[in-house]
Symmetry: D2
Subunit: 295 residues, 4 copies
């Protein structure tokens, strides 16, 4: 049986690890937060003491951490994954982080002849729980193929995007579009309301026409048209405004690094930041429609 | 046989009138531009001398004009439609214009007990030619039903949106979303290129994920992924940047009139205006991706 | 002695009329709001019954109204200024309104051989009270000269800007810059605070360097550096956010009419609108710094 | 006599070093670019071989480098300033760099008990040549005082801003305002032109009113009103659009690091980037007015 090490058991990592346990794998996990560890043990996980003891002997190592600095800290140094993993382990770095760190981790793995892919996900907590995540993969195709069976236990759509860091690139560019369209859709619903156009009518038009997008069809920011969308439960997240802000920062950093002009992306970042600073932090990102309308 | 009067035979009006002729209707047309008249006669239309002689006796009157001021001029005054149409004619005002003028025309029609709907379209010249336009209807539902058979000869999707002007409202809000998403998608493709992510890979990810939208799936602004999109023919329009600019102005006006904050809509307007002023006027609006990238 | 008619006795008109009374002129005034009339009579003004009785026989007519539609209503129609003013009266239209209406009023005055200038002001209520307003004048230079002595009783800086409507143009362009710089300055103070740079230090640097501007030097949006600025009295207006929003709408309309790309102006409009919709309407426009920071 | 070491002899460093030479100081310099070295020797500088030989024995060390990574490289490692400067040298780090690196360099200096201040400048090449730069200082006040006489030889306005990195903070916030106001002023001049308001008239109004700012009064982006501004010499820099883009990136990074919403700053960054990508890179940043107008 494959031994899996799972580093980072937060709101995304925990349900992902759970899905691996469900299939019958032995999963040893580690997280700095005691509560996360407790929750993991409750669902059948084996508690690691620290990173070295967790990854030691594991056939597969999965990391799911908040930011680039946490990833660096987890991989490097005397207590890092690089120093304690077995040489033939397969490593899936699933965090959503900046391009620079992602490429750096790949380079360091390569130096040590370790088999690592970047594999950020989209789909939010709901997708993690339902094992319907989308994985976007960067790195050697061969390593991707070797890890594919494990990703399949946690996700539904698994797309190989190319070399090192290109999973991150795809994720960042995807969420850049998402962050922008959600605000655009929100502006349109707010305007249509003031023009006294029924929201169901606008939904009917927009979802069949050139305004059609995921933010309308699947995640509609007004209550009613899409019963499963967070708008119907007071914008309980889902995917928080804070997380969207983080992803748009990654996009802004990548744009600035490569001299790409991204006027709507930068503007969207400023608006989600404004929303967070005015109390929206933990709400679903689609809740920005309320902030834009005013209270 | 129904007598149809068609006022405004430009790049949209002409193919629409043609589709009515195809079905066997007698269509009398009028346009201020002699060339437009000639083209109309060539396809079998009957040439009107002016508005009064064109609408006199017609059972159905259709108008398709560039801006609110043209619509006002065509309906009002001694030579206007209001003064010369038969009292029981059905009138479809298909121009995309500002809410204020649309509502004003409705009110004037009502005063005269005339049966008028606003029925702006989306789908562009290609949709007009293929009779696959989307019609968004505002006005009395009963008038809408009476005109439905005629709209069906020119379009595929016909949606009743509500009272006077709400067809315009739907159109304006729809294109507000479209203008924004196209720029967002362009920024993402430009960034992905600089990050060395293959455009086909990004297309694959985005069209299956939360970035999915019409601007990617049906009208992709980079050549390749969607063979029918204008990107594959050097951004020959399609729907010109000038037309998108006009529609975003309508959205901006409506937002300003109703005190709606529309940061990305306003920004998109400024960017398409900039694109137009830098030579993009007649290109397809998706050509803004090239302008954003720089030459 | 010169007879002066003053139409529009709101928060700006009242103190302006007062300054004319102070000099010893007879001023007959009219406003639709009874309270405004009462306040005007209290300071020595003569109450008009309506527009015709107010302007009849007056040597000078001054109008100070909120929007273009009010100006149109006051000048046109059977009870309008145009129909009741003496042919040799001098007319100063001091409202801040859209270019289109301003030019229309000029044209109508010209048709009737009436001597009219547009003379919008800047300086706010404080400037109106202290008779330190800036007047920006459009129209025939000769009419401007004839009205100069009267403007001088209400303002300090009086600038002739050119032909009909160009006073409005100057005002609109001036406030476009003002609205943008105030937000820029606010962003910089918010950032400097988070970077732990003392606001007095940043003020010292910025007011001596390339960031120097009226919004810092004279109207600083943080309390302390400029003791007279609204920031020191909880953003009591001054010049309300609602008024700035109105002026940025005029700029946006003018830009859209002339196909000028104004990305920061449009964005500033969206942000002030957002601020107003989130409770800032009656606060001084510099209070946007608090909104941008979050509560 | 004081021995001065000057690291970084580019377009800013060279004229600054020259001003030190003029006063009679011995200045040893180093730059990676041979041409820069040659120009330095021509004006009387002593050529260093590398960093260690340049800073060895110097009483004062000045660094003027393009970006944070160059600063890190110059200070750290076996051939860095930290390893070869005398323990009692005074160090002025004059580069404009990111907050994070600036604070890191301070911390490293402190560990080694070295006396270092950050002292970024504003005023451009012209200010460097005329010794009229503005210095913004961060670090211990005592070190600032000790270095003051040397800064005075290169600049006119020298402002102590507070602790480590706060010179950078002041510079970044200052240029954030500058970048925004220049675009705002450009939009206003473009609009006024289309409204047929004479640019000299708008200048007259704006420079006396609430639109007043350095970007109008001292650096007016249209030719005429301010004869010394780059607009009068086809936008020859001055301060290039590329440099403004760099500074706005620093502001954006600082905003993102501290969760400050900076909508106009982010937008200005996107617009200067767009201007650079469309050929404006080496033009003065005020040349963006032409780009916004369209060609």
């Amino acid at each position: 049986m494959t031994e899996i090490a799972f580093i980072g058991l937060g709101h995304m990592g925990l349900p992902m690890a759970k899905n691996l346990l469900k299939v019958g794998h032995s999963v040893k996990g580690y997280d700095l937060v005691p509560e996360a560890m407790r929750a993991f043990v409750e669902v059948g996980g084996v508690s690691g003491q620290d990173i070295p003891s967790t990854v030691k002997g594991a056939d597969v190592v999965i990391t799911m951490l908040p930011e680039g600095k946490h990833v660096k800290a987890a991989y490097e140094g005397p207590n890092g994954i690089f120093g304690h993993t077995t040489p033939d382990a397969l490593i899936a770095e699933c965090s959503t982080i900046d391009m620079e760190t992602s490429r750096y981790i790949h380079k360091e793995a390569e130096k040590r002849s370790l088999r690592l892919i970047d594999a950020p996900v989209s789909g939010g907590v709901a997708g993690a729980e339902a094992a319907t995540l989308t994985f976007m993969i960067g790195g050697e195709e061969e390593h991707f193929k070797a890890l594919h069976p494990f990703l399949e236990m946690m996700g539904k759509t698994i797309i190989y995007c190319g070399g090192p860091g290109l999973g991150q690139a795809a994720k960042i560019c995807n969420n850049l579009v998402l962050g922008i369209t959600m605000i655009g859709v929100s502006e349109a619903f707010n305007l249509s309301e003031k023009l006294e156009l029924d929201k169901h009518k606008f939904f009917e038009v927009a979802s069949q026409s050139s305004a059609q997008c995921w933010s309308i069809s699947k995640y509609c920011p007004v209550p009613g048209p899409v019963p499963t969308s967070p708008a119907n439960r007071d914008y309980a997240a889902g995917f928080t405004a804070a997380m969207m802000t983080k992803d748009l920062k990654l996009a802004a950093q990548a744009s600035q690094m490569t001299n790409v002009s991204s006027p709507l992306g930068e503007e969207a970042l400023a608006l989600y930041t404004l929303f967070c600073n005015n109390g929206g932090q933990r709400l679903d990102f689609s809740g920005i429609i309320q902030f834009l309308k005013g209270q």
